[in-house]
Amino acid sequence: MNIRGDAQISARGFQPYHGPRSGVAGAVRSVSVESMRATLGLGRPARTKIFPVAAVAIAYGPAIVFVGISVLSPGDLLDPNDVADYASYYGFITLAIILFSALVAPEVLVSDRRNGMLAMYLSTPLHRGTYLTAKMIAVGLTLGLVTLGPPILVLLGYTFDGSGPDGFANWMATLFRIFVSGVAVSAALTAVSMAASSLTDRRAFAAIGIVLVVLASPILAAALVEGAGLSPYWWMLSLFSMPFELVNRIYGEAGDFPELSTAAVIAANIMWTVIGVAIVIWRYSKLVIAR
């Protein structure tokens, strides 16, 4: 009988597992990745992809147009930076970012409470703190798709067109500013959108709440500053403006609120982030998972 030495059984059925386990870090990573997949509709039916694809398309559309203009315009007829610089790019996609944040956080947080996954997750090595960490990473990274991706695309497009930053040092400095700007815009919106999503078990309510907070805050701030004549520092209440104002400061521009110091703009963003995170932590510490 001819016996081959390389024979092996590939399907052994259910067997005990004695290998390594990744612990809490692996659990956080897995929940973050799966939450991002859920938000983007990956591994889900086509209908769940419609809104994220639309939001991403809106965010990346202007970048593609700007790069296209840069590439197709003859010679030096048009300086692409005259069309849109990196700081002002966010002005074109503000709505897409806000809508995306209203989509992402409710999907990531509310769904788990509604479909029983929260109790399932908390029966794993995760506890409430590590679970929320995983979810914040997921929301932040997913928002990064629209806050970081398009400016990086613009940078790469301009660079390949020969109209990007001069020299490696400038190029790296621009990339760094893009990164910090993306994180700055994502941080406050992540915290506030998660806070809204922690307060209701309805995704639609959470989404509406996020949009209302973002859109109502500048109206309130304007009423206080321009209507009631209070200090311009009340503009710090404007969640709609402060993240993008911080982006202007990162690029060394005066922005739309020159009366505010950069420290105040940074403080406003930190304030919104801390308030959002505090609400999420408070809400989940009070949540009764099971009896």
């Binding site: 386990r21 809490v24 692996g26 090595p125 995760l126």
Partner: protein
């Protein structure tokens, strides 16, 4: 053999109710049935076991660890199948099981292969790529079992795993649970309000009522002992009073008689004495026996005795149906 779960004076109070009241438990390895009516405290005990709740007083240890302080380490060794039948509808069964196996710490490739293996084990091999929302209740219950075992836990906790299943599906689910314990050495605690299935599949029983312990021990200890004698008498046309006379004589002889028509459940001190008493009573009245059998005490009897002793579980409904706890 060290217990899987051990509690000492375990108390769990919520603002409006005391769900567990001074529970002293020692759950040995094997398949353990956690029985009791709705509100008995089963789900609270499960939540404490998993560290989802902190006890108001007393202590609990699971696999020798404190769920409060050693939660992440402990929960990596426990599988959990919740009672809720609400799962992410859009997710495929395979992705659901794979993801939770990863969260339990398995490497990605291992989680993938074990997701398929565990779904095959529970009989969903061909269905594993279907979305959970398109699955029947029975299939979803199997998916919950598959995800509980996929990461090869030492111990799994299943909350009402047969809820919503028809009799055939229930039998299949119980067989799989038994198989998981016997073939793979995974200890199981399953909560149920259906006593028959606990009797059928479990080695040990913990019975709760309104947060207190009704009984705990092995099935042999609790339900294997005699439950008395069941006799069915013939109603004679020429001596119709003999049935009543036999009942009276049995009671006078010190037996407890639960009568339904001509069928008596007779419970007394010892079976030998009961047989003698029955024989003497029938002979004295000239009656006739159609059927006589020794009864095996069931979990239902345990709950019935508990209900008779004062407490009325399940909102005052006494254990009547053989198929469910009081």
């Amino acid at each position: 053999m060290s217990p899987i779960i051990e509690t000492r004076g375990l108390v769990m109070e919520f603002p409006s109710t005391k769900a567990l009241d001074g529970l002293d438990l020692a759950v040995p390895p094997g398949v353990t049935g956690l029985v009791g009516a709705n509100g008995a405290g089963k789900t609270t005990l499960i939540s404490l076991t998993l560290g989802l709740l902190r006890p108001s007083a007393g202590s609990i240890s699971v696999l020798g660890l404190d769920p409060g302080s050693d939660g992440p380490t402990l929960r990596a060794m426990i599988g959990y199948g919740p009672e809720r039948n609400v799962l992410p509808d859009d997710l495929r069964a395979y992705d659901f099981v794979r993801h939770l196996a990863e969260v339990k710490g398995l490497p990605r490739d291992e989680a993938r292969s074990r997701a398929s293996d565990s779904l095959y084990l529970v009989g969903l091999g061909e269905e594993r790529f279907r979305a959970l929302g398109t699955m029947s209740t029975g299939q979803r219950q199997r998916v919950k079992l598959a995800q509980a075992i996929a990461a090869d836990p030492k111990f799994i906790v299943l909350d009402e795993p047969t809820d919503g299943l028809d009799p055939v599906q229930r039998d299949e689910m119980l067989n799989i649970i038994r198989q998981v314990n016997r073939e793979f050495g995974i200890d199981v605690m399953l909560s149920s309000h259906v006593l028959e299935e606990v009797e059928r599949v479990c080695d040990n029983v913990v019975a709760l009522d309104h947060g207190t312990l009704v009984a705990q021990g092995s099935m042999d200890e609790l339900a294997g002992v005699s439950g008395g004698i069941e006799i069915e008498l013939v109603e004679l046309a020429d001596r119709p009073e003999s049935v009543d006379q036999i009942e009276r004589l049995l009671r006078e002889g010190g037996a407890t008689v639960d009568r339904a028509g001509t069928v008596f459940n007779v419970v007394g001190a010892a079976d030998d004495e009961l047989f003698d008493l029955v024989a003497a009573s029938v002979a004295a009245t000239g009656g006739r026996i159609r059927r006589l059998a020794q009864r095996r005490r069931s979990l239902d009897d345990i709950f019935t005795v508990h209900a008779d002793s004062g407490s009325q579980p399940d909102g005052g409904t006494r254990a009547g149906a053989r198929s469910s706890a009081p």
